[in-house]
């Protein structure tokens, strides 16, 4: 994301009642973005919940894959995109791999057991393990 686009996004978020954990100005926060470090925003005078903005380029294979292969979700009249569930589960198990991440992954494996596809796990595992190299 170039600095001008980021500035517009940052100002728009501030105008709509969000603050950035990493800095009060777009210049401060852009230092993180240009180094491909994530930043977080929360509502004014709140810490939780927050949203993470994760910059990436083509060198970040897993993030690029998630971005280019979204799964569409609809809750009532609200449409949004998430990464494929099988990808999300493997990312938690292989990359994040903390206690809570493994518990989240287990929960997702059980809850969505009827729609998860083994061939997708095999396909995505290669992409995710490449991220560790």
């Amino acid at each position: 994301m170039d600095q001008e686009n980021f500035k517009n996004l940052f100002i728009d978020l501030q105008k709509n009642g969000f603050w950035c954990y990493q800095g009060d100005t777009d210049d401060e926060a852009y230092n993180y973005i240009k180094n491909l470090d994530p930043i977080r925003f929360a509502k004014t005078n709140e810490i939780f919940p927050n949203m993470e903005l994760i910059p990436f380029d083509d060198s970040k294979k897993a993030k690029s894959f998630e971005f280019k292969n979204p799964q569409k979700i609809r809750i009532k009249d609200f449409d949004f995109k998430i990464s494929p569930l099988e990808f999300e589960i493997l990312y938690k198990e292989i990359i994040l791999a903390g206690k809570k991440d493994l518990e989240d992954a287990k929960h997702l494996r059980i809850f969505f057991s009827e729609i998860l596809k083994e061939e997708k796990f095999k396909e995505y595992k290669k992409i995710i393990t490449d991220e560790l190299k």
Partner: protein, 66 residues
């Protein structure tokens, strides 16, 4: 199944949630209660506006979130 580990409880809850959607309502109440509690706590600890941002950043650095 008698649960012994945290993972056993995860398995039981995931199966219950899958078989009975009403548990989502219980989970939503719990999450909203936690959010409300943490919001009050942080406002008391950090103040508001500029003070809130400054004090929050110090706290977030201490716990390694930023």
């Amino acid at each position: 199944m008698i649960p012994k580990t945290d993972m056993d409880y995860i398995e039981i809850y995931a199966n219950k949630l899958k078989n009975n959607n009403s548990f989502f309502q219980q989970q939503k109440i719990l999450i909203e209660s936690q959010l409300h509690g943490s919001s009050s706590l942080f406002k008391n600890m950090f103040g508001t506006e500029k003070n809130f941002r400054r004090n929050s950043r110090e706290y977030l650095k201490k716990i390694g979130l930023i």
